[in-house]
Amino acid sequence: MCCDAAEGGDNLLQTLLTAIVAGLIWVYYQCAFFMAHLAALLDVTYRDTNAVMFFILWPTLTLGLILWVMWNQWALFRAQPRPEPSSNTPAAPS
């Protein structure tokens, strides 16, 4: 009885793990099919579409995003509210 339950748990874990791996592989191959289909549509090869995507488009987009985030950070630093300089000086006697 105990062993059956343990085996059942193992099977469930294995099925769950298989499902997760299958999901990841499915996403991967949908992307790979996209590259192959795009190659067929554009009359180039899978190798060409891969090279354009992974050596030109994707790195450029990633670099652009990094630069955008850095620019935003700079803009945030400049827009930071600063304390009034006159607040520390004592008020002049009237």
Binding site: Q14, L17, T18, A19, V21, A22, L24, I25, W26, V27, Y28, Y29, Q30, C31, A32, F33, F34, M35, A36, H37, L38, A39, A40, L41, D43, V44, T45, Y46, R47, D48, N50, A51, V52, F54, F55, W58, L61, T62, L65, I66, W68, V69, N72, Q73, A75, L76, A79, Q80, P81
Partner: protein, 152 residues
Amino acid sequence: MTGYRHLCIFFMAITLPCLIVCTVNALTPVEWGGGTARQTTQCNRACSGYPSGGVWATSEALVQRGSAKKLKTGRCAHAARAVLPARLTADQGLYGQTIRTLYAGASGDGGKTIYGALNLGLFVVFWPGFMALLLAVGLRQRHVLRRRRGRR
């Protein structure tokens, strides 16, 4: 209102590429790219190394045996068209070097599994995840910036 707008931009940036991928995959005629039998002139699914046993059988083999070598259909054997320079697409160029780097550190069945795991990890999980994170951080920064400027 701007927070809602930024949320919409993030949602669109995530779903739009998925929509494009699904549309191209669904609309491509089977004889153009849908089959898994090798074609001499044009690339199709066989070039992507699609497992002939299907996704579930491959996952079961990977989880149970740690290898799915025999289920693979292979990889693209077509020569690149003269669209890009050879130093990018040739076997001795960046393309070949990248594949060799992904294979590096292991040999035999283990090499293929590590190559597959690296492919999955890098191109499905980490790189897209990193970009989504950058986009979320950037949109959040724009949101804060707008709020600060509006307060002045």
